[in-house]
């Protein structure tokens, strides 16, 4: 403490320790918070095709097309320990081969300060809804769920499923188109 440099050193070290303690406090104040919010999913149109899947089993596989509406108010999730949300819509279903299939159909990043009221109409899925066989046709129970990763300033990275999933049956017959 007798020179400028040694004072600057202890001042800097002390400030960093205090900052670390504050960051931990930020984590603790939000660690046990419930980050679920109600989500309203509505599927307006389902289409099913049977096409060549060049990435999968090299056979004709089921490809689903879903048009959906999505509305949710994400404002309660945001607090001082949230930088962004990564939302994704996933489909879960069971087939004869696999007891659980999960396919991500659509995703969206909501940054802090952006509009937190989701109100989306007639959305097409971003990614292909391919089954690895023919498990989509006449499947009676395909569940769509909106889940989100909460990206924090400090602490754990929680993965939360929104309450309000929807189950829908898929059509019995394939859509036949001449050109695709």
């Amino acid at each position: 403490m007798n020179t400028v440099l040694s004072r600057a050193n202890s001042l800097f070290a002390f400030s960093l320790s205090v900052m670390a303690a504050l960051t931990f406090g930020c984590f603790i104040t939000t660690a046990f918070k419930d980050r679920r919010v109600p989500v309203d999913i509505h599927v307006s149109k389902v289409m099913l095709k049977n096409v060549d899947d060049f990435t999968g089993p090299r056979e004709r596989s089921d490809l689903g097309f879903i048009t959906f509406d999505l509305s949710a108010d994400l404002q309660p999730i945001f607090d001082w320990n949230v930088k962004q949300l990564f939302l994704y819509l996933s489909a879960e279903y069971a087939t004869k081969i696999n007891s659980l299939n999960q396919v991500v159909l659509w995703d969206k990043i909501v940054l802090r300060g952006e509009n937190t009221k989701l109100n989306l109409r007639d959305m097409k899925s971003k990614y292909f809804f391919f089954d690895d066989g023919n498990g989509l046709r006449a499947n009676k129970n395909i569940t769509l769920t909106l889940s989100w990763n909460v990206v924090p300033n400090a602490g754990i990275l929680p993965l939360v499923a929104g309450s309000g999933h929807i189950s829908l049956p898929f059509p019995e017959a394939y859509e036949t188109t001449k050109s695709y």
Partner: protein, 102 residues
Amino acid sequence: MLSIFKSIPTHMDYKGQKLAEQIFQGIILISAVIGFVYGLIIEQFGWTVYIVLAGFAVSCVLTLPPWPMYRKNPLSWQPALPEISGESSQKPQESLKKKKHK
């Protein structure tokens, strides 16, 4: 160049060093508490960081330079003894021996 830097006084006395440490710890802790409460209320952790950084800057200004308030208790050194000619060659050796015995 170096002699210019060395001519700047940076020294604090012992009580001044203790006071400087107490001052910067107090300022940073108070700004940390204020920043935490403020950030919690307005739900922005960035403001907590800014307030702590402001406390850091203020305590840098207050405690890095040796302000007069840190130099109020200088050590009272024994006044320099006048050298007596002739014994000057022996005296330093005697004092060294005494220090070793202690």
